[in-house]
């Protein structure tokens, strides 16, 4: 299977035309820190030369990230990853810390910590969902101009251009558009119950079971969409 050739910044073949026309000189640390963010947000692009001879040396350019890739990392790794960890901890805690009988000070404190963990998890999940829908997704679905050869900046078009990866849009991204919203609703419901019922979330067997089931479903959904996101980003990263 042949994939469309897409540019890969950051790799340069020695002896060829430089990737960046004007090299940035860094005379001292003061100036370096002043322009560091600008240089991080600029990524040089060049066509990948698939015909190069084996053994040709490569050098790495400066590690660069685009603004879109930073948003994607924030959406998937920081917010989504944080929510996934929070859900895992909440799921474990709901079972490990539950008790029967009259709660004491320890149980109250545990319930308080667990409640704020679930609240924070729900907040992370909503942040990830909103960032994904309103920031990352528009970059993913950008429509390439007619006749363009380089589909690298257009992940949806790149994925759909090859039959072998088309399912990453028709299944993975289509599912990722909606399923996370359900997970966010579930996490919010459990967070609300934790805030309102506090120690009863751990002491009431029935309520604890219900909350555990919902957090488990939520964890499964977030894991599912996170895996799909990894697969999509592996083939066609938003850069």
């Amino acid at each position: 299977m042949r994939y469309p050739i897409r540019p890969r910044g950051g790799v340069r073949i020695q002896g060829e035309r430089p990737l960046v026309q004007k090299r940035v000189r860094v005379p001292d640390w003061g100036e370096a820190s002043q322009g560091a963010v600008d240089r991080l947000l600029v990524r040089p692009r060049r066509p990948l030369d698939s015909t190069r001879s084996p053994g040709v040396e490569h050098t790495m350019d400066t590690m660069l990230f685009t603004e879109r890739s930073l948003w994607t990392m924030l959406h998937g790794m920081a917010l989504g990853g944080g929510a996934l960890m929070g859900l895992a901890i909440a799921l474990f805690s709901l079972r490990a810390m539950r008790f029967s009988g009259v709660p004491g000070a320890t149980a109250d404190r545990q319930a308080l910590y667990l409640t704020w963990l679930i609240v924070a998890t729900a907040a992370l999940l909503w942040s990830s969902v909103l960032a994904g829908t309103y920031v990352t997704f528009p970059a993913y679905r950008a429509v390439p101009p007619e006749g363009i050869a380089d589909l690298g900046p257009y992940p949806k078009a790149l994925i759909q251009s090859v039959p072998g990866t088309a399912w990453l849009h028709s299944f993975a991204m289509e599912a990722k558009e909606h399923v996370p919203w359900i997970a966010a609703m579930l996490a919010t419901a459990v967070a609300f119950v934790g805030l309102r019922y506090r120690a009863k979330l751990l002491g009431d067997r029935q309520l604890n079971d219900m909350a555990t089931v919902l957090v488990a479903i939520c964890f499964g959904l977030v894991s599912f969409v996170a895996l799909l996101g990894v697969l999509v980003n592996k083939v066609a990263p938003v850069e």
């Binding site: 679905r141 909606h178 399923v179 359900i182 609703m185 029935q206």
Partner: protein
């Protein structure tokens, strides 16, 4: 009802059941909206054009979820409701909502 915590008043289960059932309603609403969109019967307008119709679909589902939650909470917050039935309905809504948002399912319609 006895106190359940040192600084906490005992509460009925109505508020919790309202939250759970509302989540089921919201999930089911999202699934139905997606199906209606895919079959061409109803397309929620895009609220943010660069992101497309998903913004309208999800916002509409979220609005149904919030409104449903508010109504249920207002009615049940001080009541003890049948938890098993309500939770079963919640799971049914959540399950249907998840299934209906998966492309292999809505492509059948």
């Amino acid at each position: 009802m006895a106190s359940i915590g040192r600084n906490q008043e005992a509460v009925t289960n109505g508020a919790a059941m309202a939250a759970f059932l509302a989540a089921g309603i919201g999930a089911f609403a999202l699934g139905v909206i997606v199906i209606l969109n895919e079959t061409g019967l109803f397309a929620a307008p895009a609220l943010y054009a660069p992101a497309g119709g998903v913004t309208g679909r999800t916002t509409l589902a979220a609005a149904i979820w919030v409104i449903g939650w508010a109504v249920l909470h207002r009615r049940w917050r001080d009541r003890q409701v049948e938890a098993r039935v309500v939770f079963a309905l919640s799971l049914l809504g959540i399950g249907l909502g998840i299934v209906l948002t998966l492309p292999p399912i809505w492509k059948l319609f």
